[in-house]
């Protein structure tokens, strides 16, 4: 098995509105794949489908050889133990200290003695450079630090597959680079496979192996970072160079301005 995640002909919608349409996507073992697109294009939804928190309407999602559609809750939970996920805003447990956050899964899922858990936790915190903040509460940290702690927590049990939801959102340029490098390094050091969902093109093109572009629920482009940079597709070009108007219009579709303002044509 060379692909850890395989998605084929996936359709998904909330209510009657389709959010993802005919998605085909593969994530080879050991690689770091980015899914890019504008806010609201369905990136988080796609991650939740891979994590089994949402069910595909049509098509299939396969993770580590298991069809998620056919799994019951126990099987799904067993599979999730091999997964780590970094949520958009970290989602650290606010009632637990940094140390307890990172140790959480070890305590829940293993019978390791506290001394071993302590060593592992400190190693995980050390890997993100935050061994010194173990006794702080999540509310006492900056956004960048919280994200790094969440990263340590997501990798606590050495997952085979790590899912990142907008790891760069709301970070200053320095934290951004730090997180980017960490994601790459953790992936390679753990021998893991990673899926990175983001709208930050510049940062992610530096670290990923392959990119999928999603627009309005459809994959519109894909390729290696070099291919993407060289792409002449208008959408990709607009996205990479951050142009305000292009195929993705600045204006949300609406009635004409004169209609909205009640102006009469003369």
């Amino acid at each position: 098995m060379t692909n850890l995640v395989e998605i084929s002909n996936l359709n998904f919608g909330y209510g009657s509105r389709l959010v993802l349409k005919g998605i085909n996507l593969t994530v080879p073992k050991g690689s770091l794949v980015a899914i890019m697109g504008l806010s609201g294009c369905g990136k988080t939804t796609l991650l939740r489908l891979i994590g089994g928190q949402l069910q595909a309407r049509d098509g299939s999602v396969t993770v580590a050889g298991h069809h998620l559609n056919d799994m019951n809750q126990d099987e799904l939970y067993a599979l999730r133990r091999r997964l780590g996920m970094l949520f958009q805003f970290g989602a650290l447990f606010t009632d637990l200290s940094v140390y307890d956050n990172v140790a959480f899964q070890m305590r829940e899922h293993t019978r390791l003695p506290e001394s071993v858990i302590r060593d592992l936790t400190l190693m995980k915190l050390n890997a993100v450079g935050l061994r010194g903040v173990q006794s702080l509460m999540p509310s006492e940290m900056s956004g960048g630090m919280a994200r790094r702690v969440a990263l340590a927590r997501a990798t606590a049990l050495d997952p085979e597959l790590i899912l990142y939801d907008e790891p760069f959102a709301g970070l200053d340029p320095i934290s951004l680079g730090v997180i980017g490098q960490l994601i790459r390094r953790l992936n390679d050091a753990l021998g893991a496979t990673s899926v990175l969902v983001t709208h930050d093109v510049q940062e992610s093109l530096k670290i990923v192996d392959y990119v999928y572009f999603v627009s309005e629920g459809v994959i519109v482009a894909q390729g290696t970072p070099d291919q993407i940079r060289a792409s002449t597709l208008p959408f990709v070009h607009q996205f990479i160079w951050g142009e305000a108007d292009g195929p993705m219009p600045f204006h949300y579709p609406s009635r004409t301005m004169s209609d909205d303002l009640g102006l009469k044509e003369v």
Binding site: G51, Q53, Q88, A91, E108
Partner: protein, 266 residues
């Protein structure tokens, strides 16, 4: 016209009623789920003890102070009324029976709903809004078992204890007013109370009431938090609903329980 208005009125009432019934049903289903997923709470009782601290110990001040005041008022009012019949020495009986049978369980539960119930809803609601519950699910840990059940049992265990403390403080308050302040005979106050209060019919029934109220408040509080829309308004609305629904539930259940207890269960 009038017919139409009447019909609309009936429809509105029917619609509201259905929605309330639906909500009660959903809360009951959630209560069932919580009980089903309670194994973790009893295997790792330290989780529950922590919640007993937050729900129970942190409610102590308000419960004790309120109990004292309520008892003092009962002492004053009771003495005033009983005086007319020349039986002011029975004020101890009046204070104790009112507290143990009714006011202890009911007022303590109302206070508990607004102090601890609202806090439980807000906490669970915020954990949901900040994706902490989702994060837990992705770690293959059931949030109902790990977050909801310990809070539920912590509250359920705290409630009867708080109600008993409320009653005890109330009796002290009644004593202070009737005996120390007004000068009712000390011996008569206690001995009449001792003779009139029946362990099974008054004290045990009071404890049963507060246990039922505790279950109702904690089921409502955890349900509202868990189902709260993941926004600021969603959580604040859920918190309000917890207090309102719990209060109504307490008063309605009290009527039913009292009727059964006075009439016998068969």
């Amino acid at each position: 016209m009038a017919l139409e208005a009447t019909l609309r009125g009936i429809r509105l009432v029917g619609d509201k009623t259905l929605r309330i019934v639906e909500r009660v049903g959903a809360t009951a289903v959630f209560l069932g789920l919580t009980v089903m997923h309670s194994a973790t709470s009893f295997r790792r009782f330290d989780l529950v003890i922590r919640e007993i601290f937050y729900a129970g110990v942190q409610s102590l001040i308000i419960i004790l102070v309120s109990g004292l005041f309520v008892g003092m008022v009962l002492g004053l009012q009771g003495h005033e009324t009983l005086q007319n019949y020349g039986s002011e020495q029975s004020v101890g009986v009046l204070v104790a029976l009112s507290l143990v049978r009714e006011l202890g369980p009911v007022v303590a539960a109302l206070l508990f709903a607004s102090r601890a119930g609202s806090a439980i809803t807000a906490e669970i609601g915020l954990m949901k809004a900040t994706e902490q519950l989702s994060a837990m699910e992705m770690m293959a840990i059931n949030p109902i078992a790990r977050v909801v059940a310990p809070r539920f049992w912590g509250g359920v265990i705290s409630m009867p204890l708080l109600a008993m403390l409320f009653s005890a403080m109330g009796i002290i308050g009644g004593y202070l007013v009737a005996v120390v302040l007004i000068g009712v005979d000390d011996g008569a106050f206690w001995s009449q109370m001792q003779a009139a209060v029946d362990f099974r019919h008054d004290i045990v029934n009071g404890i049963i009431k507060s246990l039922v109220f505790g279950i109702a408040v904690c089921a409502i509080a955890t349900f509202e938090g868990f189902e709260a829309p993941p926004t600021a308004e969603g959580v604040s609305g859920a918190t309000t609903r917890t207090v309102v629904s719990s209060s109504l539930a307490i008063l309605a259940l009290d009527l039913v329980l009292t009727a059964f207890m006075l009439k016998g269960w068969n």
